[in-house]
């Protein structure tokens, strides 16, 4: 599924917001089959790192390669569909049903429409497929995001506090998803405040403090 090669290679990357640095001189390498835990205090820059790896932010300086694409130029547009990112806030359209939300993505990505129902079923939302996203509970919306990832089967997972808002029966979804992805030769980066849960999953962990990784 993945060509052999490094999945992430960041060299001395910095990210700025206006005049202040959020991340500074970040070095990170992730190989196929690895799951990385990212820890750090509130506001340390964990989400910023994930969005950088998702090609959604451009570095202020330094060079980085994700899935073979240079973060500093237009190559990054070509690998986006191979990245699965779940952020703090669900990115559903509130007026559309869960089914419609996922079908939209399926059409846009060229995924077979049947995958929508099966992945909603996989996260336990088959019965709520026709509910508008705005009337779904927070946890249901998060589950729907996981359904989107299951459907798209990305090689590189970027999960921001994936266990939060999920009930006891659903947290295992996360672990399963991560395990399956790395076994297939992909990789994952997990941000969390829950060390014990992530340590079980992660190949290695990094900590962000003062804008740098350690």
């Amino acid at each position: 599924m993945v060509e052999n090669g490094t999945i992430v290679s960041l060299q001395d990357i910095s990210v700025r917001a206006g005049a202040t640095h959020i991340l500074r001189n970040v070095i990170l390498n992730v190989q196929p089959g690895e799951a990385v835990g990212v820890f750090g205090a509130n506001g340390a820059g964990k989400t910023t790192l994930l969005r950088l790896l998702a090609t959604l932010l451009k570095p202020a300086s330094g060079s980085g390669v994700v899935l073979g694409a240079d973060l500093n130029n237009d190559e990054r547009y070509e690998v986006r569909h191979r990245i699965g990112y779940i952020g703090h806030v669900p990115g559903l359209y509130p007026e559309m049903t869960l089914d419609e939300n996922l079908s939209f993505i399926a059409t846009a990505m060229g995924i077979d429409g049947a995958a929508v129902a099966s992945s909603l079923a996989a996260v336990g939302l088959a019965g709520a497929a026709d509910r508008r996203a705005e009337v779904c509970s927070h946890g249901m919306q998060r589950r729907a995001e996981f359904a989107r990832i299951l459907m798209a089967q990305p090689e590189f997972l970027l999960l921001d506090e994936p266990h939060s808002a999920l009930d006891g029966s659903a947290v295992d979804l996360v672990d399963d998803l991560v395990r399956q992805t790395i076994e297939a030769g992909g990789a994952a980066v997990l941000v969390s405040h829950d060390r014990s849960r992530v340590d079980d999953l992660a190949t290695f962990s990094v900590e962000i403090a003062g804008g740098t990784l350690s």
Binding site: H81, E95, G110, A152
Partner: protein, 223 residues
């Protein structure tokens, strides 16, 4: 490409039209406001029948222009960062996104124009010569405004204080459309050819389409 440009653009169009159908923003707010505007003007400027007949069609185009741009720009406010992220990571070509959004606005605008045209004819008793050109001009104006508004919206959404830009970007480009629309009928009334005007509008529409498609990637990056 895993999917075609066309599939992606159509997916975006379908999404926008579905969201509009559910929220009814254009149908229930913008459209009635446009109609109210046409209603209020005669009240405000005094109801002198010949004057109204003379200015009716011009006012129609001004209202279409103003509200049309608002319809097209509305997208900038209805999409959250998280939603944009999802679309970006679905690998949707920004240019397909531009075309798809513009197309959805185009359909809404055509509907808007059609309803307002009926209201204008009813209220202002405007002369109907050359009405046969109306569909063409309406399509050109609709296309131009939707492309323009979509472009303005994507520039705005890349940075917050950039909203200052919307009117400034929209004004110069909507003027040729407005002039084209009004002059087409003026020319017809005077028995002259309106080809130059239609041509000018077509050029503006093409220009906007090209500019939008070419700048889509550039503008996608979050500021």
């Amino acid at each position: 490409m895993r999917t075609t440009f066309r599939t992606q653009a159509m997916a975006i169009t379908k999404r926008d039209l579905m969201r509009e159908r559910r929220s009814g923003e254009v149908l229930w707010v913008t459209l009635p406001f446009g109609a109210i505007a046409l209603l209020l003007i005669p009240i405000a400027i005094g109801t002198d029948r010949p004057t109204l007949r003379a200015i009716g069609i011009g006012l129609f185009w001004v209202i279409v222009m103003l509200f049309g741009v608002l319809i097209a720009v509305r997208q900038a406010h209805t999409e959250t960062q998280a939603q944009r992220d999802v679309v970006a990571l679905a690998g949707i070509d920004p240019a397909a996104g531009y075309v798809g959004r513009a197309l959805a606005s185009f359909f809404l605008l055509i509907g808007f124009e059609a309803v307002l045209a009926v209201v204008t004819v009813a209220l202002y008793d405007v002369p109907l010569d050359g009405w046969i050109w109306m569909p063409l001009v309406m399509v050109l104006v609709g296309a131009g405004l939707s492309l323009l508004g979509t472009l303005a919206a994507s520039i705005v959404s890349t940075g917050r204080s950039a909203s200052a830009l919307v009117p400034l970007l929209v004004a110069p480009l909507s003027v040729p459309l407005l002039i084209g629309a009004t002059q087409t009928f003026e020319a017809l009334r005077l028995g002259r050819s309106s080809l130059t005007w239609t041509l000018m509008m077509t050029i503006v529409v093409l220009l906007l389409a090209i500019a939008g498609v070419l700048s889509a990637r550039t503008l996608q990056e979050s500021g």
